[in-house]
C-alpha cells in the first residue's frame, strides 16, 4: 500500500493519545445508542484487532454486529448522530477526530445490498470503480492504474465497459468491493457481504477476501453462516445484545456453552455433540472428517 493518496488529507493534526502501533482497530469501553433510540445498540465493547488479522463477527439479530462496523467506519456517530461513550481508535486515530470521508482513504466498508452501493452516477463499470479515487482528487493516470488493479483483483476486468445496472447481484457486489479496493484501504470492514448473493457469487467474494488477507489487509467481517466463518477466519468475535460474549479462535469460541446456546453452533459441532463425542468438538469440515474418521475406525 503506497504512501501516496493524492494529498487528500483534510486533517493534518497529529493523532491524540497513545500511538498503538500494529493495531488496526481498537474499541475501549465503547457504548453507543442511535438518535432517538431508548436502548444502547452496543454496550461496553472492548476489542483490539492487530494489523493483518481476519476477524469474523457473528451473533443473533440485534447483537450489534452492524453497529460495530458503523462505529469502526465512523458512520456512527458522524452520519447517524446518537450518543457515543468510550473510544474507537482506527489506524491509530480517534474516531471523533476524523469524519467518514476523511477516513475513507484508509478504511473501507462493504454493505449487504449490492444495489445501493454503486454511486448511481456512472455509466460504465470502470468509471464506477474510479469514483472513489476521483473524489479524493487522485490524478487521472493514477486513477486508471488503480481501477485496472482493483478490477483484476475482484475478477471483473472483462465487464469494464458494461453499465453497472446491467450486472447481476454477485457481479455488483464485486464491483462495490473493487470500488473500495481502488482506494487502497488498510482496513476493510464487511457487513454480511454475501447475504444477498447466490452460492457462486458468495464463493467469488470469499476467494477475493482470502487473497486480500494474504496481501496483509486487515479484515473485519460480519457473517451469520457459522461454517463459513470457522473455515475462513482465524479469530471469531461472538456478540449478543450489544455485548461481546466470546472472542478467540473459532475452535475455542464455539466450544463454549454460552455461545452454543445464544449464538448457535456450526453443523459439525452439533453433529459431534449429538453423536456423543467428548469435547472439544470440531468446528471445521476437515477437523470433523478427522474426528469422525477416527470414530469410525
Amino acid at each position: 500500500m503506497g504512501p501516496d493518496r493524492g494529498g487528500a488529507r483534510g486533517d493534518r493534526r497529529p493523532p491524540r493519545g497513545v500511538a498503538l502501533s500494529s493495531t488496526s482497530l481498537v474499541f475501549e469501553n465503547v457504548s453507543y445508542a442511535y438518535e432517538e433510540a431508548a436502548r444502547e445498540a452496543v454496550s461496553d465493547l472492548s476489542l483490539s484487532i492487530a494489523v493483518g488479522e481476519w476477524v469474523g463477527v457473528t451473533g443473533p439479530t440485534n447483537a450489534g454486529k452492524s453497529t460495530l462496523c458503523l462505529l469502526a467506519m465512523g458512520l456512527a456517530p458522524h452520519f447517524f448522530g446518537g450518543r457515543l461513550k468510550g473510544r474507537v481508535v482506527v489506524l491509530e486515530k480517534d474516531s471523533r477526530e476524523l469524519s467518514v470521508i476523511q477516513r475513507s482513504a484508509e478504511v473501507g466498508l462493504l454493505f449487504q445490498n449490492p444495489f445501493t452501493q454503486i454511486s448511481g452516477a456512472r455509466e460504465r463499470v470502470d468509471d464506477e470503480v474510479g469514483f472513489g479515487p476521483e473524489c479524493h482528487g487522485v490524478s487521472r493516470l493514477e486513477v486508471a492504474a488503480r481501477v485496472e488493479e482493483a478490477m483484476a483483483l475482484v475478477g471483473i476486468s472483462q465487464l469494464a465497459a458494461r453499465h453497472p445496472m446491467d450486472l447481476s447481484g454477485g457481479q455488483l457486489q464485486r464491483l462495490a468491493l473493487a470500488g473500495l479496493l481502488a482506494m487502497r484501504p488498510k482496513l476493510l470492514l464487511l457487513d454480511e457481504p454475501t447475504s444477498q448473493l447466490d452460492p457462486a457469487g458468495t464463493a467469488a467474494i470469499f476467494d477475493v477476501l482470502a487473497g486480500l488477507h494474504a496481501s496483509g489487509i486487515t479484515i473485519v467481517m460480519v457473517e451469520h453462516r457459522l461454517e463459513t466463518l470457522c473455515e475462513l477466519c482465524p479469530r471469531v468475535v461472538a456478540m449478543v445484545a450489544g455485548r461481546i460474549i466470546a472472542d478467540g479462535p473459532p475452535d475455542d469460541v464455539f466450544n463454549r456453552e454460552a455461545v452454543q446456546l445464544r449464538v448457535g453452533s456450526p453443523v459439525f459441532t452439533r453433529l459431534a455433540r449429538e453423536a456423543g463425542l467428548s469435547p472439544p468438538w470440531p468446528v471445521r469440515l476437515r477437523d470433523a472428517t478427522a474426528v469422525f474418521g477416527r470414530r469410525l475406525a
Binding site: 467518514v100 470521508i101 454493505f111 452516477a121 455509466e123 482528487g137
Partner: protein, 259 residues
C-alpha cells in the same frame, strides 16, 4: 436501460464535435433573441437558421417527429383562443358559424407559436448533439460543484430506473385487482397504491447510498481532476462570447426602437 432518457444521436457533424458550452451558448442565445425580436419576420429568420443547423447536424428527421408532437397542439390552441378572444381584436378575419375570428389575435398567436417553435428547435438541437454526461462534466470543469454534478448525473440514471419500476408496480397491482381504468374517481383512487410502494422503496434506499458514498470519500473538499478534456478552439471561445453578447445587444436594440 442505460441512458434511457438521453436523446443523443451519435454523429460526426461540426455540432456534435463542438464544445458543450458553445452549443449551450448557441441554444440559450437563440431562444432569448427569438423572444426579444419584435416581429414574425425576425423570429422566422432565427427559426430558419436553427433548421439549417439541425439539417447540418443530420438530425432533421428526428427533430420533426418530436417537435411536431409538441408544437401542433399548442399552436392550434393558441390560434383558436387568441383569434377568438384577444384585447387587440378589431379586424374580422373569418367566422366559423357564430364564432368570429380576428386578424390581430391570429397574428399574436402565430408570433407566440413561432417563438415556441424556436425554443423547441434550439433545445432539441442541443439535446440531439450533446451527451448528457458531457454537459455535467463541462459545467464541473467551469466551477459547478462536484456535489451538484453528482445530482445531475445521478438523476439522469435514476429517472429511467424509477419509471421502469413504476411500470412493474403497475403490472403487479393490476394483477392483484387494482382498477386502473374506468371512471375518473376510480382511476384517481389507483394513484396512491401505485405511487406509495415506488416512492417509499426508493427513499429508504437513499440512506444506504449516502453511507456508501461517504465511505468512498464523496464530498471531500479536494481540487477536482477533470475526467477528460473537451476539444476547444480560440474560434469557439470567440463564438461563445459573441453569442452571449448578442442577447444584451438585442435588448438594447429593442429599447432603441427595433421594430
Amino acid at each position: 436501460m442505460a441512458g434511457g432518457l438521453s436523446l443523443y444521436a451519435e454523429g460526426k457533424s461540426l455540432l456534435h464535435r463542438a464544445h458543450p458550452l458553445t452549443k449551450g451558448a448557441l441554444t440559450l442565445s437563440a431562444i432569448a433573441i427569438a423572444f426579444i425580436a419584435p416581429s414574425i419576420g425576425w423570429v422566422l429568420g432565427i427559426g430558419v437558421i436553427l433548421l439549417v443547423l439541425v439539417t447540418a447536424a443530420g438530425v432533421l428527421r428526428r427533430l420533426l417527429a418530436v417537435a411536431a408532437a409538441i408544437l401542433l397542439p399548442i399552436t392550434l390552441l393558441l390560434l383558436a383562443v387568441q383569434g377568438f378572444a384577444n384585447a387587440n381584436n378589431r379586424t374580422v378575419a373569418f367566422a366559423l358559424g357564430p364564432i368570429v375570428y380576428y386578424r390581430e389575435g391570429l397574428a399574436i398567436a402565430a408570433l407566440a407559436a413561432l417563438r415556441i417553435a424556436c425554443l423547441v428547435c434550439a433545445t432539441f438541437l442541443f439535446s440531439f448533439t450533446t451527451r448528457p454526461a458531457d454537459i455535467s462534466e463541462a459545467l464541473m470543469q467551469r466551477g459547478l460543484s462536484t456535489r451538484m454534478g453528482y445530482v445531475v448525473q445521478s438523476a439522469l440514471q435514476i429517472i429511467p430506473q424509477t419509471l421502469d419500476m413504476a411500470g412493474r408496480i403497475q403490472d403487479a397491482q393490476r394483477a392483484r385487482g387494482l382498477e386502473t381504468e374506468g371512471s375518473l374517481p376510480r382511476r384517481a383512487r389507483a394513484y396512491l397504491p401505485l405511487m406509495l410502494p415506488l416512492v417509499l422503496s426508493s427513499l429508504v434506499a437513499t440512506q444506504e447510498r449516502a453511507m456508501a458514498l461517504e465511505v468512498r470519500g464523496f464530498g471531500l473538499p479536494v481540487k477536482r481532476v477533470a475526467r477528460f478534456e473537451f476539444a476547444d478552439s480560440p474560434l469557439q471561445r470567440v463564438l461563445r462570447w459573441v453569442l452571449i453578447g448578442a442577447v444584451p445587444a438585442a435588448i438594447a436594440a429593442r429599447l432603441a426602437g427595433w421594430r
